[in-house]
Subunit: 240 residues, 2 copies
Amino acid sequence: MVDTTNNINSGLKSIEERFFKSAISVDCVIFGFDGKDLKVLLIRSYSDEFKGQWSLVGDLLTPDEDMDSAAYRILRQRTGLDDIYLEQVHAFGRVERHPLGRVVTVAYYSLININDYNAETEVAYENSATWHNVKKVGKLAFDHNEILTASLEHLKANLASRPVGINLLPEKFTLTELQSLYDAILDRPKPLDKRNFRKKILSMGILKDLNELQKDVAHRPAKLYSFDREDYDALLKSAF
Amino acid sequence: MVDTTNNINSGLKSIEERFFKSAISVDCVIFGFDGKDLKVLLIRSYSDEFKGQWSLVGDLLTPDEDMDSAAYRILRQRTGLDDIYLEQVHAFGRVERHPLGRVVTVAYYSLININDYNAETEVAYENSATWHNVKKVGKLAFDHNEILTASLEHLKANLASRPVGINLLPEKFTLTELQSLYDAILDRPKPLDKRNFRKKILSMGILKDLNELQKDVAHRPAKLYSFDREDYDALLKSAF
DNA sequence: ACAAAAGTGTTAGTGCTACACCCATGT
DNA sequence: ACATGGGTGTAGCACTAACACTTTTGT
């Protein structure tokens, strides 16, 4: 029947010649929130085939670095972003997904405060990354639309179990801002119910009431909150 | 500052020479259930370094096949298993995880009826796969313990949202058998409450009461159930 | 008769949904 | 005074968790 040794021992070519011919890349899907829309960080593709098209922040792995480390290295080199948590989403391995040859890519995603990557940071890098509304990205290079979609799904799924706002919002924020973030990520026909949202999020015990108010707004000023790091970390641990 | 073109254009060696030197492999984590314990299908490692150690069902990708297809191909070649649903779990990419060189592996998992792979199937394959209690696997080849652990976590997480029993149990089964499966996967200090489990699982509307009873058991015989494929598929769709 | 597993209901608590009005501020 | 968004409570319903005894069969 089937010869299980086929791939390993037989054939004319060496294992090197037959199997060690592929490249691995990493693509980082970096989400940010501007108070209204969910955004993703994109760079101009350097590939000839996709010249001028936008693409995710990615690059090839060198054979001597761990894949997880490479993700941080690539993100840092292309955007200057450092010290942010990346989480693996999925590996994509269609044969023809990359014009240069066989490249399997592994997608990572992260959530950052949108002000941590801005116009000032930008100028230091050749292929400046810019923020794009996730609902309005056009056709991206490679299979990056597919990767973005998968990452968005991943983010939505995580939203229920993890208080994601800690990474996406500024230090101080109002409950309405937090809710806008949830609404932007969930992207549902109707926004969440204001009262229910507040009840639930406050009952989690990870928000700290700062006893401060907004200033200079043309309406009743809202109370400001921040995340309580300790309680937040405690919750994360207990949930897993 | 940082030269973002570093990896792509500069250097003495060609892109081929520098980056297209890696291999990609697939490892399949196949779970089965024998009515009492959760089991995983393992083969004897063919690698020199791990001679005699058990390993997951895996192999290298040839550069001309899609990764998802390769997972099915490898599973079929090594075990004869066909027509089963594989789901990607995670990619593992530590530099030194494989003795032959740089090999990034992508783990897939699946759930099968344990009788679909048995002693009879087994003899056709050189490196016969055998079932091992997941709680009693020893040290596996490569980083396969890590992969197994991650796949188990994945399975636990999926249990709540997907009625996984459909793949792991025989055609006809009792509610107690179904609960044993849940208890085996969740592996919690206390088993689930019998009454609550029955209420919940029946209320999902995916079980069909066959109006049959167990035979030849030394106690009150239990009613037999089967999954209702249609209702099950409908539930899957609506849940996602 | 005994052993072994099957089968069955109720209660209390918790969380989710839906819903409408008054409040504080700037213009 | 008006416009703007901030802030609050309750009732119905669904789901969850905890808990103990009777039934049916084989030996």
